[in-house]
Amino acid sequence: MSAATLAGPSAPKSVSRRRSALPRILLGLSGLLVLLAVVRAITGANDLTSSGTVNAAIGLAVPIGMAGLGGLWSERAGVVNIGLEGMLILGTFGAGWFGYQHGPWVGMLAGVLLGGLGGLLHAIATVLFGVDHIVSGVAINILGLGATRYLAAVVFSGVPGGGETQSPRIPAMPRVSLPGLDQPLLDLERKNWFLLSDLAGVLRGGLVNVSWLTVIAIVMLPLSYWILWRTSFGLRLRSCGENPWAAESLGVKVYRYKFTAVIVSGLLAGLGGSYLSIVASSIYRDGQTGGRGFIGLAAMIFGNWRPGGLASGAALFGFTDALQLRGSGESIHALLLLVALGMLVVAGWNLRRGRRVAALVSAVLGVLVLAWFLFTDTVPSELTGALPYVTTLVVLAVATQRLRMPASDGLPYRRRTAK
């Protein structure tokens, strides 16, 4: 009954390739920027790389990324966490409850801790009692939603500015800018020069007027990478996700590592929830997570259970969401061209690798999207909401399957039962 059902070849990549990860990431990012710049130049949809879009995209990506990072911690230790949605909800509520009384920082702490409480519950159920991970996660989603709704009605009704389904206003979290960049970058961005203005827009969106909570959340990504992949603690934690019996035989206290991982998972999801209520909307509101826990899980799988990959998945969701929310049907339409170009690139790459069928499929899809771009002026506004999800599906289907989940992800493990 586990969700552990990813088929596909799983040959481990050679170690030497991992060393060159950073140059590859930078290369990929600049390639993407060039592609975006080309699309913007062709279509004239200047909002595509404006600092406003980038800023909004980062904001939308943070909760998804934090949920995904929570999932990463948990699943790297071998515990599937479908309860992220419930932990996000707990985070939003904690931040709303304490935030309006004691300010944003205490609110953030409360949200994080409440999320961690959800993680602790998941850890007790799955690790200690050996409950199926999906069952426990589903229960935590129900519990998180029910408990916060009930408590919200108890805590917030009658409070000035609050109601049965929402908290009073939370004081804003301070924002931070890299000094001296704002005006020069804005000037450059307004020039609409090819590539340079795009770069300025992206930089300004990421470096100017950013909430501290965003900074903290973004720092979590490299920090998690460093802990999980560069320390012996992380090595042991991941060994619990790959082969807990082997880890046990080497003296690793598997239960302790799994507990830690799942609690951290809840803390991170709680951070994402705090972000939603403190920064994104400055109140707790019922239903404000909107399934982001699940999307975060998807971003993590999309990112092949690695921090960099999940960050790009979250960024993809954030970016397309931002374009849609900014109401620029023009930009979404321009994005069709980007998708078409991307598909054709993939097709060429597949052809070079000798995968004819894959190449053909992506080429046909690319041409179809291109035709859609050429023969229409806008995308119906109702459909734009589906864009990130369609993109994810297409990317997963077209890109060759090289996803590999931790080998013992979702499997039950009991102490001293080594085979």
């Binding site: 009954m1 586990s2 969700a3 059902t5 990813l6 088929a7 596909g8 479908i82 519950l121 159920a125 009692f129 050996g130 409950v131 199926d132 999906i134 069952v135 426990s136 589903v138 229960a139 935590i140 989603n141 129900i142 519990l143 998180g144 939603l145 029910g146 408990a147 709704r149 009930y150 408590l151 009605a153 108890v154 049965e164 399934g291 699940f294 999307i295 899980l297 998807a298 799988i301 999309f302 119906p380 109702e382 459909l383 734009t384 909401g385 589906a386 990130p388 999800y389 369609v390 994810t392 599906l393 997963l396 289907a397 399957q401 996803l403």
Partner: protein
């Protein structure tokens, strides 16, 4: 000795769910106490209200679609597939079949039948996308069905426009599909005397699906293959089961049943798919399938319990208690049922080991029945 063990086994099997419900009541009481409400009057009011004839009829109505939803999820679970997408599948199916039923003129029984065929096909199609992606490209059905849920929401918003499938509903600013004519409606049944509300006629559909599910799993080659492939893909493949084919078949079947989830509401109550068509039944189905351990009878009990809690929470507004307390109870039940089952399984294992140990110590061969209990 074997007889004693069996009695104990029955007791243990009953103990788990009873313990779980009691534990959930305890947790709920604690929450109520902390919030400053007395638990006993709350429970008494819920029991009293949930037991009224009118509530009974409404509980059966709710359980009807919960059951179908849980069945759809359970079919996937039997094959180790996690179909989170029941949510999107039933909504897509309800919309398209509502538009179909509102647009055609057909004789009574045929009208209903064809509407359901359309719903089944749409549900299977939407699930089939995930199934196809899984067998051809190895895309996890967990992620693809989450995506398809979100896509379904967008597609429904797109289709449910006055220029497309929808017409405006008279007397409100709601929009929905054209009303289904009388020939396409399913009459209610007067099952419960004095209720004042009818029980949806499609409760029979739920029961029929449950029986079909039971027959399919236990009495057909297909069901055997499904369970085998779910339990051990390798062993199933070795005995000639085409794993990919079974995956796709299970996904299609799950989607087909999911397509029916919206039918009681559509053909028996609202007769149109409008903006306020109920959502999130697909997610409830997951919880109920887990509660019922994928067994047709267990799911039935789970659906009734869930519907009872939903219905009886309606009275809580009058008691000045937020009805969401019931969600805490439901979540606790799901979690504690499985914990209880696990504890009982471990306890049973200890008992068996002990009885084997005793038999060996007496220098007698262990009783024949003892090892048979090993697979819980």
């Amino acid at each position: 000795m074997t007889g004693r063990l069996d009695v104990r086994r029955v007791l243990l099997a009953v103990a788990a769910p009873v313990l779980a419900v009691a534990f959930a009541a305890l947790v709920t009481s604690l929450v109520l106490l902390v919030a400053g409400d007395a638990p006993l009057p709350v429970f008494r009011a819920m029991l009293e209200y949930g037991g009224r004839p009118r509530s009974q009829a409404l509980i059966l109505n709710t359980a009807t679609y919960y059951y179908l939803s849980a069945l759809a999820v359970a079919i996937g679970f039997r094959m180790n597939l996690f179909n989170i997408g029941v949510e999107g599948q039933y909504r897509m199916a309800a919309l398209v079949s509502a538009a179909f039923a509102g647009a055609v003129t057909l004789p009574p029984v045929l009208h209903v039948g064809l509407t359901m065929v359309v719903a089944v096909l749409v549900g299977a199609f939407w699930a089939g996308i995930a199934g196809l992606l899984k067998v051809t490209r190895g895309v996890s059905e967990v992620i693809s069905t989450i995506m398809l849920n979100a896509i379904a929401t967008a597609v429904i918003a797109f289709l449910l426009q006055p220029s497309r499938l929808a017409v405006s509903v008279q007397g409100s600013n709601n929009i929905g599909t054209r009303q289904i004519p009388a020939s396409g409606r399913v009459p209610g049944l007067d099952l419960i005397p004095g209720a004042g509300v009818q029980v949806t006629g499609l409760i029979l559909l739920s029961v029929a699906c449950g029986v079909a599910y039971w027959l399919m799993l236990g009495r057909t080659r297909f069901g055997f293959d499904l369970r085998a492939a779910g339990a051990s893909p390798g062993a199933a493949a070795a005995s000639g089961v085409d794993f990919k084919k079974m995956t796709l078949a299970a996904m299609l079947l799950s989607g087909a049943v999911a397509g029916l989830v919206g039918m009681p509401q559509l053909l028996g109550a609202s007769y149109t798919y409008s903006l306020d068509f109920p959502t999130s039944w697909g997610f409830t189905g997951i919880a109920i399938a887990l509660l019922g351990r994928n067994h047709p009878v267990g799911i039935g009990i789970g659906a009734l319990l869930w519907a009872f809690l939903d219905q009886s929470s309606q009275i809580l507004q009058l008691q000045k208690v937020a009805p969401d307390i019931v969600a805490i109870m439901q979540g606790t039940i799901v979690l504690s049922v499985v914990i209880a089952y696990e504890l009982v399984r471990r306890y049973r294992l200890v008992l068996e080991q002990r009885s084997v140990g005793r038999a060996l110590a007496d220098d007698q061969p262990p009783p024949v029945a003892a090892p048979s209990g090993a697979p819980a």
